[in-house]
């Protein structure tokens, strides 16, 4: 058994799960203790994760390194070739930090809203944290798949146990939907595993080793589709999004925050880390579909969000719109688009997390999420309203707040993608897609301000709203870090972008070399042989070949007709004559 590397990531992964076990060992009635343990563990995990904050002198994460850092690698299941291999790069490090940052805030925001099965709730949250972090840092297909499934279960429980009235429907829909995607992904993982095993001369699920294998074109197309389905459901891309509003509406506040804040990011992250590097040809083939769906999602999500009467549903659909930007940015394949996409994910985590926490604040006081039940809240809760406005504006992409940078860069990246696309990569009409995506800027303002006006402006004419109390200390404690984060990301995006840069550049560079790899049976990257020199010529050659085949086929038919049925298998009459007597 060999192991190597730094213990930061195993520590971050281990703390929550140990906390979960510990909390389950405490007496069932000690709810204060459970909350205390949960909070402590999450805060400690966050503090430990701060070790990963990029710093040019840091032994753990240096901003100028393009590859994976803070690596930890230990053989896990030797028979399978599965490793417990974890590491972070500029793409995942902030997602990890976002997760560890949001978890304690979510728990703080939940407060006493969860009063049933508190112990189990805390344990579920902690297991969820480990699962999510595991999926972000995994560098092994098997470990990734396990983490991916691990985080599904606690989320299922969060919705199904602590959710609203239709919680069973929503939770089952959530699980089945996600499972359908991930099962196909599993099949594709098997295929990759077997192919890579034969090329590498030994079975392994180590991502970096698997990545050295180029799969045949058609296999990539299918495998990418399988992975993409899993990730597209998670994003969620139109039209695979309908689980999301249901899940959000029924989930408790904590579930919604984590679902929107972290879980949705796995879709985009999966594309970046797995689907696109493993199957560049597949990505090239599917990119038009995904980019168009992403743009549809941006516009469609915004329209549908506007039609909602339920605040939570409105925000849920806004996620469809916002994550559309992220998907588009990734598939535009420019450093602007990809950096913007990662940035937009971080911002979305803060802003949408904040929106759901805000809705939680209202729901706890009024027990309704219907827009029509509110109005004039600003008068009663000025502090909350002001903070919520900042979150809303952050979400609407106001410059100098976090949402702008991501939106700006993804649209920019899409708009000018035309210059840098690799040959054979399908990305139709980048300028048009960029312009259409930019309408999301207008649409976002429409539905968000509509919601804001309905809740906070207008007359305070419902008697129940007249008794609402403004935020208390605990709630301020959840909102202020978020708002500060929204400001910091918006005003100082550069420190983050600098760290993403090497990883993003590496990603685009690798992708471009990979997508240029010639087709052929599974082989090691860089050893593919093309008949023609370039891919374009290969395409031309392919076309010529098919033409030649077609011509030959025609000749054959003519020849066959002229010479009688000499070589063809016997017809029905021939067979009939050989029929024996019974």
């Amino acid at each position: 058994m060999s192991s190597s590397g730094s213990f930061v990531l195993p520590l971050i992964l281990g703390l929550p799960i140990l906390g979960a076990i510990f909390v389950m060992c405490t007496p069932k009635t000690e709810t204060a203790l459970h909350r205390g343990i949960g909070m402590t563990v999450m805060v400690i995990t966050f503090l430990v994760s701060l070790i990963l904050v990029p710093n040019s002198h840091s032994p753990f994460f240096r901003p100028d390194v393009p590859g994976f850092q803070a690596l930890f690698d230990i053989e896990w299941i030797p028979g399978l070739g599965a490793h417990f291999k974890v590491g972070v790069d500029g793409i995942s490090v902030f997602l990890v930090l976002l997760t560890t940052f949001l978890m304690p805030l979510t728990l703080l925001g939940t407060g006493r809203a969860i009063d049933k099965h508190v112990r189990e709730f805390i344990a579920a949250m902690l297991v969820l944290e480990t699962g999510m972090l595991g999926a972000f840092v995994a560098l092994d297909l098997f470990l990734f798949y396990v983490s991916w499934e691990v985080m599904l279960i606690p989320m299922y429980l969060l919705i199904g146990i602590w959710g609203g009235q239709r919680r069973l429907y929503a939770s089952i829909k959530f699980v089945i939907y996600t499972m359908v995607g991930s099962l196909l992904m599993l099949v594709a993982i098997f295929y990759v595993y077997v192919q890579a095993g034969s090329v590498l001369g030994g079975y392994t699920t180590d991502l970096e080793r698997v990545l050295t294998v180029a799969l045949p074109h058609h296999a990539q197309v299918w495998c990418f589709a399988a992975f993409a389905l899993a990730f597209a459901i998670k994003v969620p891309l139109f039209p695979l999004h309908t689980w999301l509003p249901d899940a959000h509406v029924e989930a408790p506040t904590a579930g919604s925050v984590i679902l929107a804040g972290v879980l949705l990011k796995f879709g985009i992250y999966g594309f970046l880390r797995y689907a696109m590097p493993l199957f560049p040809h597949g990505a090239a083939v599917w990119a038009p579909v995904i980019s168009v769906l992403a743009v549809i999602g941006i516009i469609y999500g915004a329209f549908v969000a506007f039609a909602q009467d339920d605040v939570k549903k409105l925000v849920a659909y806004s996620s469809v719109s916002h994550l559309g930007f992220c998907a588009l940015g990734v598939f535009a394949l420019t450093s602007y688009g990809i950096s913007g996409s990662i940035f937009a994910m971080l911002s979305h985590g803060l802003t949408t997390g904040g929106l759901f926490l805000g809705i939680g604040v209202l729901y706890e006081r009024r027990h309704t999420r219907r827009l029509a039940e509110y109005g004039g809240i600003w008068k009663q809760m000025p502090v909350f309203s002001g903070l919520f406005l900042i979150v809303v504006m952050g979400s609407a992409g106001l410059p100098a707040l976090s949402g702008f940078v991501g939106e700006f860069l993804t649209i920019l990246g899409t708009f000018i993608a035309g210059d840098t696309l690799p040959q054979g990569y399908g990305f139709p009409m980048p300028r048009l897609l960029g312009a259409l995506a930019a309408t999301g800027v207008v649409l976002g303002a429409i539905y968000l301000l509509w919601m804001f006006q309905k809740v906070f402006f207008g007359k305070l004419d419902k008697a129940k709203n007249g008794r609402l109390k403004d935020l208390d200390g605990r709630e301020l404690g959840t909102f202020i870090p978020l708002v500060i984060g929204i400001f910091l990301l918006g005003l100082f995006p550069q420190p983050l972008l600098v760290v993403m840069k090497p990883a993003v550049d590496k990603f685009t560079q690798d992708f471009k070399t990979r997508v240029a790899e010639c087709d052929g049976p599974a082989h090691t990257f860089g050893t593919g042989k093309c008949d023609a020199n370039t891919k374009a010529e290969a395409e031309v050659q392919k076309t010529l070949d098919s033409l030649a085949r077609g011509a030959a086929g025609v000749q054959k038919t003519i020849g066959g007709a002229a010479a009688g049925n000499a070589g063809s298998p016997g017809g029905a009459g021939d067979a009939g004559s050989a029929r024996p007597t019974p």
Binding site: I176, Y177, P239, T242, Y300, F303, V304, F306, A307, T334, S335, Y336, S339, G340, G376, W378, K379, P382, G386, M393, L398, P399, A400, F404, V405, F408, L409, I411, L412, F415, I416, D419, G434, T439, V441, V442, A445, I446, L449, W450, Q453, F456, F457, G458, K459, L460, L491, F492, P493, Q494, L497, K501, G570, D574, A575, S577, A578, R579, P580, T581
Partner: protein, 786 residues
């Protein structure tokens, strides 16, 4: 001392200009609830006041030195930090003070400060006094970022920031749902413009990203202005037009949103829902002029596309005329002023569209003074009427005779009315005359020769309208007899409100003198051309047109005679408008007007009153369809097609399978037994009927290859096979005398019928199969009996 390195505390000195008001906003918004009112207003006024002092120092100190050294257009650029850098996109958080932004910051801080002071009186009794000052400060800070920005992304921070403040301040009294909606409308319409603005930015970045000088400072105005970059603007882009046309028009659409031009002007009249100081500051003096400023800031881009310019000047002219027309029938004091603002902004855009940048900025400046003065005067009037219990303080039909009751307000309002009507020597006369003269003289390459004259004629009509509706307003408010009790009892506003009025009126009177037209005789001292001289280095003076011989200057010049003639015509038009207004409204609302309005001019009157039904049309073609589409997408596409049919439909189909199989799996033993029996019968049926033992044969050359297929009725692998190959009815034996038990047998030569026996290994029952061999079959494969 190098101006670019000036620091104040930890930051570059320029940064403090927007930062001071922003800090004021931070203090008042966060801590305001614990501060006494006087401290809140002191913080607010002081922060803007200090910004003004700092701005004045920088403009008249370091920048003036630069200007004298011939570097007024380069100015002072200070970078605070790198905001966004990805790939070749590098946006610095950088500010630039050049002669153009200098004019703007002086206006913004000075007028802003006066309006802050005024607000202490106007908003004195508002319960959200502190929030108001916080917002006002936030606005001032954002506006200063907008004008000081050294590049487009930073400008966009201010651009959207002022939009946010506009939203908040229009909806300041949000308990009125209509006011809140007005704020939202403003933001959304602005966002529509911003959408185009973003695309314009992207297009410019795309065009310039690979050019050396623009590399380290993406979308930096100075870099974009560089001739090396400028070549990119003349590249063909779309439909035979230059890139500059596409980018310029997109950016101009952004300006249309911010500066309330057709067809995006609809938010501004509604924006009057905000407190009056807000209307004065944001919706007259500063924010709405941002579009004009932006176009002038990008003069080098627009000089490269006369197509973009013709769009700008046409939109400007149409807006000037349409808004003037709409102002005729309004009866709300602030609404008249709002349409007037839209119209005056149209004038500025005609100036910008005729490449007459200096005139655009000149009119922007004079307008800031006289329109702010008008709005604040209106505020003073409404404030006093409200104080006397009027429930409709803005209705000019209930006013009249206020000249005696509000003497200071009256005199300042009168001055501003003279200014806006273009009466010499008030400020508006000179700035409007510059615009008219410029339009008359301009000959952009590619324009029809008469187009400048058309613009000039159109603007004259607009000026006539302006003089008329403004003086209608004046007469209805101040002249004649009071038409309501409140108007009879009204009294002058407090000093905090009147002093700013006086200061603004002073400037509305004299500020025009810095932009007198250029005439050869008599030659005027430099002071009278100070503005044009000052702005010269910051704007472009040549058409950027490839294919033109040499450099062609933008400005056309006219002889002294023409200049004086044009001035005379403009003045006459102003006087004519005033006279017309006096004839109809000199003594309050007259019967003649009523008769006209109810009689022959009813249609026109309605059209004006309903602002040409823009809102109604937008409601029908945009707002309602939007709502219907949104609801339709949700109910039909999302709920029904995707969720019910596709998602739950798939679940339903699977559910049916589940239900069917559940029928079997219900724990009822009898039913299981039925299953066992039926299943067993099926097995027997299938094994007995479907796969009888047989063999196949194949003729290869002279040989016959036989292959036994024992069939499924018998345990196949264990079955024994015997052959009769010679047709004797006996099981054949091989050379060694053993029975042939192989499954594959080859026979040579022609044979008769062949028989095969299959013996069940368990029951030892034998099945016999005989086939005749068809010798003609050739290579055909024969199948046994089914």
């Amino acid at each position: 001392m190098d101006a670019a390195n000036l620091q104040l505390g930890p930051l570059p000195i320029l940064a403090w200009i927007p930062l001071l008001p922003l800090l004021g906003a931070l203090i008042n918004l966060v801590a305001g609830r614990w501060l006494p009112k006087w401290l809140v207003s002191t913080v607010a006024i002081l922060s803007v006041g200090l910004a003004f002092v700092l701005a004045a120092y920088l403009v008249f100190g370091p920048l003036f030195q630069e200007f004298q050294a011939g570097r007024g257009g380069i100015g002072i650029t200070q970078t605070i930090y790198t905001w966004i850098e990805v790939g070749s996109f590098k946006a610095q958080l950088a500010l630039r003070l050049d002669t153009l932004s200098a004019v703007m910051i002086l206006i913004v801080t000075f007028v802003g400060m006066l309006i802050h002071i005024y607000s202490t009186g106007y908003m004195a009794h508002d319960p959200r006094y502190k929030t108001f000052f916080g917002y006002l400060n936030l606005f001032t800070g954002s506006m200063l970022i907008l004008v000081l920005a050294a590049n487009m992304p930073v400008m966009f921070i201010g651009w959207e920031g002022v939009g946010l403040c506009s939203f908040l301040l229009i909806g300041f009294w949000f308990e009125n749902e209509a006011f809140a909606s007005a704020g939202r409308k403003a933001f959304v319409v602005n966002r529509i413009g911003d959408f185009a603005f973003l695309l314009g930015m992207f297009l410019l970045f795309w065009a310039t990203k690979d050019i050396g000088v623009a590399k380290d400072a993406s979308l930096d105005f100075a870099a974009l202005k560089n001739p090396a970059v400028g070549a990119a603007y003349t590249n063909g882009f779309w439909g035979g037009e230059r890139l500059a046309a596409a980018a310029g028009i997109l950016l101009f659409i952004g300006a249309c949103g911010k500066s309330a031009q057709l067809p995006l002007f609809v938010w501004l009249p509604d924006a009057m829902a905000g407190p009056t100081p807000v209307s004065a500051l944001i919706h007259a003096a500063t924010m709405v002029t941002a579009g004009v400023y932006m176009v002038c800031r990008l003069s080098f881009l627009y000089a490269a596309s006369t197509t973009a310019l013709i769009v700008i000047s046409t939109v400007g002219l149409l807006t000037a005329l349409a808004a003037a027309f709409m102002a005729f029938a309004q009866t709300d004091l602030k609404k008249v002023l709002a349409y007037s603002t839209v119209s005056q902004l149209g004038f500025m855009f005609v100036a910008a569209g005729t490449a007459n940048w200096t005139a655009a900025i000149f009119h922007l400046g004079t307008h800031a003074f006289f329109k702010a003065c008008l709005f604040l005067g209106a505020g003073s009037v409404m404030h006093s009427l409200e104080h006397e219990g009027s429930t409709t303080p803005g209705d000019i039909m209930t006013m009249g005779g206020l000249r005696r009751r509000l003497p200071l307000t009256h005199i300042t309002f009168l001055i501003s009315c003279l200014a806006i009507a273009g009466i010499v020597p008030f400020a508006g006369f000179f700035s409007k005359d510059e615009i008219l003269g410029g339009a008359f003289a301009v000959h952009p390459p590619g324009w029809p020769v008469w187009y400048g004259k058309l613009l000039w004629g159109g603007l004259l009509l607009g000026a006539l309208g302006t003089a008329f509706y403004m003086w209608r307003l004046y007469f209805l408010v101040f002249a004649g007899e009071s038409r309501s009790d409140a108007a009879k009892k009204a009294h002058e506003s407090p000093l905090a409100m009147t002093v700013p009025l006086i200061i603004l009126a002073f400037f509305a009177t004299f500020v025009g003198l810095i932009g007198l037209p250029h005439i050869e005789h008599p030659e005027l001292p430099g002071f009278f051309h100070a503005l044009a001289h000052w702005l010269d280095p910051s704007v472009t003076h040549e058409w950027y047109a490839t294919g033109l011989p040499g450099v062609q200057a933008i400005a056309g010049s006219e002889s002294d005679g023409t200049t004086f003639l044009l001035m005379g015509v403009a003045l006459l038009v102003g006087i004519a408008g005033i006279t017309g207004a006096w004839l109809f409204y000199g003594r309050g609302p007259s019967k003649t007007v009523n008769q006209l309005v109810e009689g022959p001019l009813a249609g026109v009157y309605e059209a004006s009153k309903h602002k040409l039904w823009f809102d109604e049309v937008y409601d029908v073609i945009l707002v309602r369809p939007f709502k219907v589409v949104a609801r339709g997408l949700f109910e039909i596409a999302d709920r029904f097609v995707i969720d019910t049919v596709a998602v739950n439909g798939a679940a339903f189909v699977i559910g049916i399978f589940g239900r069917v199989s559940r029928w079997f799996q219900n724990g009822n033993v009898q039913r299981y037994l039925v299953g066992v029996v039926v299943g067993g019968a099926l097995v027997f049926f299938m094994t007995d009927c479907h796969h009888k033992p047989t063999f196949t044969y194949k003729k290869v050359g002279n040989q016959l290859q036989l292959h036994a297929e024992p069939g499924s009725g018998i345990e196949g692998s264990g079955a024994k096979i015997y052959w009769d190959l010679d047709g004797d009815g006996q099981k054949d034996r091989d050379a060694a005398g053993n029975l042939i038990e192989k499954r594959d047998v080859t026979v040579t030569g022609d044979t008769g019928p062949i028989t095969m026996w299959v013996e069940d290994p368990v029951t030892h029952k034998e099945v016999k199969v005989t086939q005749k061999i068809d010798s003609n079959a050739g290579a055909a494969e024969a199948q046994g009996a089914k």
